[in-house]
Symmetry: C2
Subunit: 407 residues, 2 copies
Amino acid sequence: MAVGLSDVLPPLHAVAGVRLGTTAAGIRKPGRPDLVVIELAPGSDCAAVFTRNAFCAAPVTVARRNLAARMPRYLLINTGNANAGTGAPGLRGAEECCAALAAQTGCDPSEVLPFSTGVIGEPLPVDRIVRGLPPARAALRADGWADAATGIMTTDTVPKGVTRGLRLGGHTVTVTGIAKGSGMIHPDMATMLAFVATDARVRPDLLQRCLQEAIDDSFNCITVDGDTSTNDACVLIATGAASAPPLLSEQDERYPALREAIAGVCMELAQAIVRDAEGVTKFITVDTVQGRDRDECRAVGYAVALSPLVKTAFFASDPNWGRILAAVGRSGLSGFDVDAVSVYLDEVCIVRGGGRAPDYTEERGREVMQRSEITIRIELARGHARARIWTSDFSYDYVRINAEYRT
Amino acid sequence: MAVGLSDVLPPLHAVAGVRLGTTAAGIRKPGRPDLVVIELAPGSDCAAVFTRNAFCAAPVTVARRNLAARMPRYLLINTGNANAGTGAPGLRGAEECCAALAAQTGCDPSEVLPFSTGVIGEPLPVDRIVRGLPPARAALRADGWADAATGIMTTDTVPKGVTRGLRLGGHTVTVTGIAKGSGMIHPDMATMLAFVATDARVRPDLLQRCLQEAIDDSFNCITVDGDTSTNDACVLIATGAASAPPLLSEQDERYPALREAIAGVCMELAQAIVRDAEGVTKFITVDTVQGRDRDECRAVGYAVALSPLVKTAFFASDPNWGRILAAVGRSGLSGFDVDAVSVYLDEVCIVRGGGRAPDYTEERGREVMQRSEITIRIELARGHARARIWTSDFSYDYVRINAEYRT
């Protein structure tokens, strides 16, 4: 069960200029919503980041190319099949799907961005996707966010969506986003599938920078299993359909508020992915502080967050702090004074001066470890930088889910 | 159960100049062999490498310092307690154990090298170790290798020992080694505990080089869970008690044969650790070939060997080659042509040209995946370098063993 997430989405506000339609196209299993069309009003701007995995999926290649050519009118998302490791036929398949939607809507094929998620290495069922386009288009509506959040799920146990309203210089603006992801989560300058939209108007280069900054602090700070997906993508749409005048520069006094809202939506979606990680029983924040720079804090945080030994100890609610120390110790810090390090589990200091804190007791450690949300705070005592990483524990169910995934 | 390892050790040849004594000192659990003394004849030389984990254990610090001061007469090894993360009291504890053995044997405390393995972060029970020294010394004998192999085990399910005899310019020489390790295995320029001895005489700097080379191709090529231990150590002893004249230089025509024997013992011990990895059901060789250099082949091999998704797929005997491709793709190769890559599972080609091989069938993949020993061969098609990494799969039992470790 997901940690700290409701099975039911909160109400997601419509974003003027965006309509979403979801259908069950039978891509992998019958009767399950698996095809989503997102329609953007003419004049919408769009920023995106994609996986850095060299084996990127065919839709990533096509979406990158199309976005470089012109602003999109449609996003086309399927689950059940990743269309990755599919070579030239996979590229043709992604292009055929875009062409079919373009023909039905009268736009150019390059105005469609394709996204796929699911099993790697199987041929994309183009026919089923094309047959699913009319019902998906018929379902298009401004309040289709919740259905779309469900329609992009794979091993996710709950849909993920976040919404924010804000006032921008006297005008009301909305930011709404949805995301999917549960395993193969270790985004590298990108993320799993996430789609965030606002009805503000933002200059395209500023929109891209805003997205990159939001991602660096959110999707690029989570890991479930260290495996970077072939299909990661995060899209930020600005329709400009709200009444607020365009944001043209970082110096615009309204920009910080919008950036904060977008970053907040990304952060909450990223954390939702970890809260719904495969087999999760604990939501763990690794807060590394007092480092020389952010990079070394991230290196320490990831060493701890990725350690199977740390993750199984959390699953067992065992305050085995030696495993945390061992992970910190192998994270590659130069000139590192281990005797200066302190480690906390929530409010309980477990390590001070490189060894067990004098006032620490196993009882206090066990009490903290029973919680479903725990912060590991690592004080490096060598600077003022900080980084937070979010991760999940490692359970029998992680093994079961990934051993049975294709059956 | 360990993969391809017998519960019973093969006969391990005595090494002239080395005696070993093992006892049950009740360090963590009563009645279990947990204390080993290894006595080296006067004039023996010794080379060693230790963990690069910044949080190295107290015995690692003491052993490094003592070895730098003079050649050892005794190795003192305990299991059940790693004496890591124990601060200044841990250092004092390790020194007290060395001093006690020195006092009983009439050597200097700096002629004793201490080694510990077990739970991190608990105070070393110095009293029990000191009380165990007389029975351990009373048990000293030249054919004590098998008992010592058992005496250094922690979560290992079988003892690990390898022996080689060779002729060196008309003289018979023996190389025998033992090792322990099963989890927290991702040696970084070092290894888990391993003790290898020969009765050849080898100049100390040559002995160190010989050990380093042997380790680079063996212990430094294995991983179970990516976690580098705080206590890794590998010791190579040359007693010089055989009749063969000393080896003084790499140009000595007898050197390649001895180096090969030592490297072979290290390789077999390293693989034995993986074969007995926590929860192992499959022994996996990741053979990355046609790379630009060895480093990039190792990066690819480790990305695959460490992927929880690849490891759970092997546990499930599921030929989910998409996960292998995804791991190769995130390993950070620059200018990488994914369309040139081929991947084999043993003799079955599963990927060619960046996608599923035309003649591949799921049936053939499943047949290979039923085997308990499988080689993944990754052809990068961009050079002539190669690297092999050995790893295990990821099972329910890995989670169980590490969730229950301290209970």
